[in-house]
């Protein structure tokens, strides 16, 4: 209820501001400020009036409008200024008693005069207005969040910010942080991530997709989500391509800086944040230090990640960042440096029921059963450092070169405290409970570095050439993940009180996981723009070559404290040892054969042409060919058939994009494109690791997915940052990759393995997006409906021998409805910007079960966030971000009435809230606050 109260306060604040704007007036001058060339309203332009000694100033609102009220009748001089524009010449306005005069002002873009360089001279792309312009003029279907939008969002990482884009939902981490984007129902594997148009490698150990939470959002100039691919774009984005355009060198000196602090209301003295020290952590495993023949013993391990635990009752998060940029040498050399630091404390309280490997026939066929009931608390400290620089040099009007560097580093300290009641009904009953208490400390370092050297050249009058040379590296190290557990065997009396407790079966595990992914790539594009007949035609051809090398290392050492020894709450007294001494030898390590090296060479070529078939119809079409050559090698024994392998394939990807201008402000777009999705590296490699419910194994026979995609979109850009987009899409995917439960080895050994679903999958839907500003107010909303279907084999247990049946379902992670709504208030006069942002993600599959009708579903999720920025003095403002105002929980349900579950399991189900379903997981994050100062020069 407390949160609802907070919500109420915020709403009333909003309403107060609303009434502010209505006031009585007599004589008024009003109007709008426009760009003289494009006609765009110039939000924030300063407008001044002068009559003798009387002076007044205001600034243009979101729709470019300004007004001066309660003026004396007379003649006023009026002029307007805006950064990047020439100041307007004084206009003169005469105003009579009781009259209202409208005076629009046109400003001329300073850049268009100074910068005669034909090479894509980028003006300020930070605003919503420019984002709309880009969307309108884009070659294909695209959605853009501008820097200004991002800055005001309640989100500090791109992982969270991206959910504000139409049709995008996010996959959260255990602490609620957005990590992966699902674009129009296509999960992360079907999307790619670009930085300034260049694909970057992923620090993930198995997959290609990049965790979006490693990007601090403040480093972005804009975030583009491209939903239909043109031939000049990489073809591995069935769902879409996320392009993070980083701030580029400005045309004048800029400096801005911000500093903030905050906290999460999750933590208190009764629910402290558990921290640990990483100082004792071994960077390398005993096998890495001493060789694979070395027999490690307990002495080789340092468990300080467990023993250094400290409880903090209210840790303070902080962020800081600055951007500095300027242009030198007669504006030829531009430099920008942007740095960001975040130190965020987050956490969650989680309850989870783990399904038993198979349902039973009691009390009804296919009755779900649970084996474990988990109660977990997560404490996660994330330190992010982001640094990027861009230097460009304009040699002459035909040649420009730029060097871009991006460095991102994340340290994540996660402490997970678990209490696992296991063997529900089997080893835990009404009279005895076997509970495994565990404490896991995970330290994860992720680094992404990218350097891109880019050149743009006008070779001849109508011939342009651009090229990129790219070096990227992505690393993830998870050294010495330490997990300590013991069993508490509790005897319980009929009143539920523990009458006796025996603690034993101590186990300690040390785990190492390191991987590196390196790319060397070259891109080249040639553009020829002749006039054929009366039409401008743009021919483009180009290609890319990328050589990727990747390796992954794993090691796990499991020690036991002896089952017969009792645990007396003193970790140091536990005599840990290997069950068999030979288990400590590196060559015997159970993870050794998961180690892999992967190489991938991709070369792609394309040709495309863009022309106006007639005045209002732009046609862009072409074809792209992508050649993929992959090879992997593992540390599997020679006796293992899939030890190494080489895979190659070629894809021909045609595309056609028609853009029909219904009017200057309206477009109708029709797109077709073919795309692919390559399996993750780790999915092809025949790994064998412990997964969430089952062991997981790789599949060297996994095929890449291909798709045909169709898009139809209507766009209306009435002016300013306003827009209306209505679109629909249809995708037909062949060989979609889904996870299947398979038997391998003995018939009772069940594994989860990625495989290609026979018969393919379809995915279609529509989306609508509207942004409208009314003076100081703005509303931005989008809604996407998606329907996907895939039919796979499932098991059904009617009696004690399961049969195979087919079930049609949606793709994993795809929600039928995804919606966003933001209410904005922007007043230059008050120096106040506010935003209330709401995001809704409908029900979607969290985990596909092997058994019929027993899939796990994420409950519809909605979150409300609030943010504001208030100017204090000239260049200094105060800002705040409040996340998860309503303390929304992430919940997962099984669509099976909980009352129908076996009576012996009822006592373990916990609190249930939906009669037709069973709550199997809930994660609570609570409200978090962040507040600070921003300085802008």
């Amino acid at each position: 209820m407390k949160h609802n109260y907070l919500l109420l306060k915020l709403l009333s604040l909003f309403l107060c501001c609303l009434f502010w704007s209505f006031s009585t007036f007599a004589q008024t001058i009003r109007g709008k400020v426009f760009d003289s060339k494009t006609g765009e309203p110039l939000v924030g332009a300063t407008v001044k009036i002068e009559r003798g000694s009387f002076k007044q100033a205001t600034s243009a609102k979101l729709d470019g409008s300004y007004s001066f009220k309660n003026l004396q009748p007379g003649t006023y001089k009026i002029d307007a200024k805006f950064i990047g524009y020439n100041e307007s010449k004084d206009d003169v306005v005469n105003i009579n008693e009781g009259a209202t005069v409208t005076q629009n002002i046109l400003l001329q873009d300073a850049n268009t005069q100074v910068n005669e360089v034909v090479i894509a001279g980028s003006a300020n792309k930070a605003t919503d207005r420019s984002a709309r312009t880009l969307e309108r003029n884009a070659n294909s279907v695209i959605n853009i969040l501008s820097q200004n939008t991002i800055q005001l969002l309640p989100d500090v990482t791109v992982g969270n910010a991206i959910q504000r884009v139409s049709g995008v939902s996010i996959q959260r981490t255990s602490t609620g942080e957005g990590r992966y984007a699902i674009i129009r129902g296509m999960d992360q594997r079907y999307n790619n991530t670009l930085v300034n148009g260049i694909k970057i490698p992923s620090p993930d150990d198995r997959y290609r997709f990049v965790p979006m939470d490693i990007f601090p959002s403040e480093m972005l100039e804009r975030l583009e989500v491209v939903k239909a691919l043109t031939p000049n774009m990489e073809g591995d984005a069935i769902g879409g391509s996320m392009n993070l355009v980083m701030k580029s060198a400005p045309d004048r000196f800029i400096f801005d800086a911000n500093l903030s602090g905050g906290f999460s209301t999750l933590f208190s003295s009764s629910r402290p944040f558990t921290s640990f020290s990483s100082s004792g952590i071994n960077k390398n495993s005993p096998a890495q230090i001493n060789g694979n023949d070395y027999a490690a013993t307990f002495k080789d391990f340092n468990s300080s990640a467990i023993t250094s635990n400290k409880q903090l009752s209210n840790p303070v998060s902080s962020t800081a960042g600055f951007t500095i940029g300027d242009r030198f040498l007669d504006k030829k050399l531009g430099v920008i440096l942007s740095a960001s630091y975040q130190n965020i404390y987050r956490g969650s309280n989680s309850k989870e029921l783990t399904p038993n490997a198979a349902p039973t026939i009691v009390p009804a066929p296919n009755s779900p059963q649970f084996s474990d009931s988990y109660d977990r608390t997560y404490s996660t400290q994330t330190q992010r450092v982001g640094l990027h620089t861009k230097i460009d040099y304009i040699f002459d009007k035909n040649n420009k070169i730029s060097l871009y560097n991006l460095y991102l580093h994340t340290n994540e300290y996660q402490s997970r405290q678990t209490s696992d009641t296991l063997g529900l009904g089997l080893n835990s009953t009404g009279l005895s409970k076997q509970i495994t208490i565990s404490n896991r400390s995970t330290f994860t370092q992720q680094t992404v570095y990218n350097a891109t050297l880019q050149g743009n050249h006008r070779l001849a009058d109508k011939l342009d050439f651009d090229w990129d040379g790219v070096y990227s590296i992505a690393k993830r190290n998870q050294p010495d993940r330490t997990d300590f557990s013991y069993d508490a065997n509790n005897a319980v009396n009929s009143a539920g009180e523990v009458t006796a407790s025996v603690k034993n079966n101590m186990a300690l595990s040390h785990h190492w996981e390191n991987n590196t992914d390196k790319d060397i790539a070259g891109y080249g594009n040639l553009k020829y723009s002749p006039k054929i007949g009366n039409t401008d035609v743009e021919f483009a051809l180009g290609g890319l070559y990328r050589h990727k090398t990747r390796d992954a290392y794993y090691a796990t050492y499991d020690l036991t404290g002896g089952k017969a020894t009792l645990y007396n709450n003193n970790f140091d007294a536990v005599p840990f040892y290997f069950n068999l001494p030979s288990d400590g030898i590196g060559n015997n390590n159970k993870d050794k054969s998961n180690n892999y090296a992967f190489k991938e060479d991709i070369n792609a070529e394309y040709v495309q042409a863009k022309f106006k078939l007639f005045d209002r119809l732009q046609v862009l079409g072409g074809v792209r060919i992508e050649n993929t050559l992959q090879s992997y090698n593992t540390e599997q024994p020679l006796t293992y058939s899939q030890k190494n392998g080489t895979i190659s394939y070629t894809d021909v990807l045609p595309s056609l994009h028609l853009n029909y201008s219904l009017s200057d402000l309206q477009n109708l777009r029709l797109s077709y494109y073919a795309a692919i999705s390559r399996p993750g590296f780790g999915e092809i490699v025949p790994y064998n690791i412990d997964g969430e419910y089952y062991k997981q194994i790789g599949n060297p026979n996994l095929k890449h997915s291909t798709s045909n995609n169709y898009d139809l979109r209507y766009e209306l850009f009435p002016g300013g940052a306003d827009q209306l987009l209505l679109g629909s899409f249809y995708k037909n995917i062949q060989d979609p990759i889904e996870y299947f439960v398979v038997t391998n080895g003995g018939p009772s050994a069940l594994f989860v393995q990625p495989g290609n679903a026979q018969g393919g999958a379809t995915n279609y839907g529509f989306e609508a997006l509207v942004t409208k500003y009314f003076g100081v107010f703005g509303v931005s909303a989008n809604y996407t409906y998606t329907h996907s279907s895939i039919t796979t084999d499932k098991l059904l247990k009617i009696d004690n021998s399961p049969i195979v049946v087919q079930q049609t379902r949606s793709l994993q992670g795809q929600a039928a409805s995804v919606a966003n709504a933001s209410f904005l208030f922007k007043s230059q006069k008050l120096g106040l910007d506010m935003q209330l942002a709401y995001v809704y993600t409908g029900e979607r599959i969290a985990q596909v079960s092997t058994y019929y009708n027993l899939d796990f579903y994420y409950h519809p999720f909605s979150q409300l966030d609030f943010s504001f920025e208030k100017k204090i003095v000239n260049r200094l403002s105060f800002y705040g971000k409040v996340n998860n105002l309503t303390n929304t929980a992430n919940k997962i349900y099984l669509k099976y009435p909980h009352a129908d579950i076996d009576s012996k399991q009822q006592e373990f189900l916990g609190k249930q809230d939906i009669s037709g379903q069973t709550l199997v997981q809930s994660d609570y994050y609570k409200v978090s606050f962040l507040g600070g100062f921003r300085y802008k020069f």
């Binding site: 490997a357 009953t429 009279l431 017969a564 054969s593 080895g745 018939p747 021998s801």
Partner: protein, 475 residues
């Protein structure tokens, strides 16, 4: 002295029961020709993998009577899918450290009563006197070699009059990949083909780490075997999972870590039958004490969809009694049991004859009688609830020939090997004549003196694995 006395008594009993036919029968000694083995396995050098760059040494053919073979340390002795390895009676196979036998084809160890086979480790001395060694330093639990791993294509594995000793080492990745099993497995014997036959008769299994015998699935016949010191700190001695069918009878267990025999339908594959196991006339002594988790059994356990029956069994001083699990529930509609005997030295054991929290239904044919006293299983007792076993402590002494009860001098947990004890019955034993002989074994394996089950002993009149008439367990 007792060792001599016992066979003598047995002979007298056998004679008196068999009547006088043998005295009057005629005697023939007619020559029979046995063709020489076409593919004798050479015993000249150890079976070695070093030099091949892999851990594999493939083997097929026949190991000859009286010969001793050895497998080099770290090697996997592989019987390929279409091949057979036949061990004639009297073969000793010494397994090197960390070695394994992987049966992808057929493995038959055809020992005989007179010439048993050994699959063991050379030069290890057993330490079996109670209390002389901790589990941690007992070679029985050291997993000196990995064990016999039946792959998914193994159609037949027969162990007859064969000692399997000191196995249970971690399979590790290379071995597990070859066998199609699991990296972390620590089983002395694994069988994992629901279409295949696993036959173990008159054999001995000594030591082990996790489940000494894991039947992931398969048709089984496990008759008249002796199990000692099985599992170091957990593990069910005969652990049968989803898709296992057959009979376990006349087996003797002492000092198992957890259960002696367990049946579960967990992991039943599509096409595999439901687990259905018939258990009768088995004897369990001091089971369950190296498993410290509460509630886990020490004798027989039926859980998760498993059907079958258990009759005529004997459990003495086992940590938990016969357990039927309610969640995930055993196939109780197709599970029957009765005529089972239990004995407890202590109240702790007696209080768990019908383990609390589970659904074992006391049967009128059980011993001790379920109507022993007002306290023991009082009126209104429901399965799984707490009761007071005071009145059945040290009642119904089974009168073994040489195993004094109540046990004195050592905790129950330390009685984990035969060590010269004799669990055959004295004539005054209350176990005699209490058996149900109307039940039928479930025999799905071929009956054959070599390539199958040589004898399916029907249920016996006396409870436990030793019959006063000499049939049953022959050890």
């Amino acid at each position: 002295m007792k060792k001599i006395l016992f066979p003598a008594i047995l002979m007298v009993i056998t004679i008196s029961f068999a009547g006088c036919k043998k005295w009057s029968g005629e005697h023939r000694d007619i020559y029979s020709y046995t063709p020489p083995a076409a593919n004798p396995v050479s015993d000249k050098a150890p079976l070695s993998c070093s030099g091949s760059g892999t851990s594999v040494v493939s083997v097929k053919g026949t190991m000859l009577t009286g010969k001793t073979y050895s497998v080099e340390a770290g090697c996997d002795l592989v019987i390929n899918p279409l091949d057979t390895l036949l061990m004639q009676p009297g073969v000793t196979l010494n397994m090197g450290a960390g070695s394994s036998i992987i049966a992808l084809g057929t493995l038959v160890s055809n020992g005989s009563k007179d010439r048993p086979n050994f699959i063991t480790v050379a030069g290890v001395t057993k330490i079996d006197a109670p209390g002389t060694v901790t589990a941690k330093s007992d070679p029985a639990f050291a997993g000196k070699w990995k064990g016999i791993i039946g792959g998914p294509s193994c159609n037949l594995m027969v162990l007859r009059w064969t000692h399997v000793e000191f196995a249970g080492g971690t399979e590790g990745d290379a071995t597990a990949k070859l066998a199609g099993s699991g990296t972390g497995n620590q089983y002395s014997i694994l069988f994992a083909n629901y279409k295949g036959n696993f036959i173990m008769e008159d054999s001995w299994l000594y030591g082990g780490v996790d489940d000494p015998i894991r039947i992931s699935s398969g048709k089984v016949a496990i008759f008249r075997n002796t199990f000692e010191k099985n599992g170091v700190s957990g593990g069910d001695c005969l652990n049968l999972k989803g898709g296992s069918t057959g009979t376990l009878a006349y087996n003797f267990f002492i000092g198992t870590a957890t259960n002696g025999q367990k049946a579960s339908n967990k992991g039943q594959a599509v096409g595999a039958p439901q687990t259905n196991i018939v258990m009768y006339n088995n004897t369990f002594i001091s089971g369950g004490y190296r498993q410290v988790q509460s509630g886990r059994g020490g004798s027989i356990n039926f859980e998760e969809g498993a059907a079958g029956m258990y009759y005529n069994n004997v459990a003495v001083n086992c940590k938990y009694g016969y357990r039927v699990v309610g969640s995930p529930i055993a196939d109780v509609a197709h599970l029957s049991y009765g005529n089972n005997f239990q004995y407890a030295d202590s109240l702790f054991v007696a209080n768990q004859f019908y383990p609390t929290g589970y659904i074992t239904q006391p049967q009128t044919t059980d011993i001790p009688s379920i109507t022993t006293s007002a306290k023991y299983l009082p009126a209104g007792y429901t399965p799984g609830s707490v009761y007071d076993g005071t009145d059945v402590v040290q009642k119904n002494n089974p009168m073994f020939i040489n195993f004094p009860l109540p046990a004195t001098g050592h905790p129950l947990a330390q009685y984990n090997a035969l060590n010269g004890y004799n669990f055959r019955l004295q004539a005054s034993s209350p176990l005699i004549g209490k058996g149900n002989t109307t039940i039928k074994p479930l025999i799905l394996v071929p009956l054959d003196p070599v390539y199958g089950l040589s004898e399916a002993t029907p249920p016996g009149a006396d409870l436990g694995c030793y019959q006063i008439n000499g049939v049953g367990n022959q050890h």
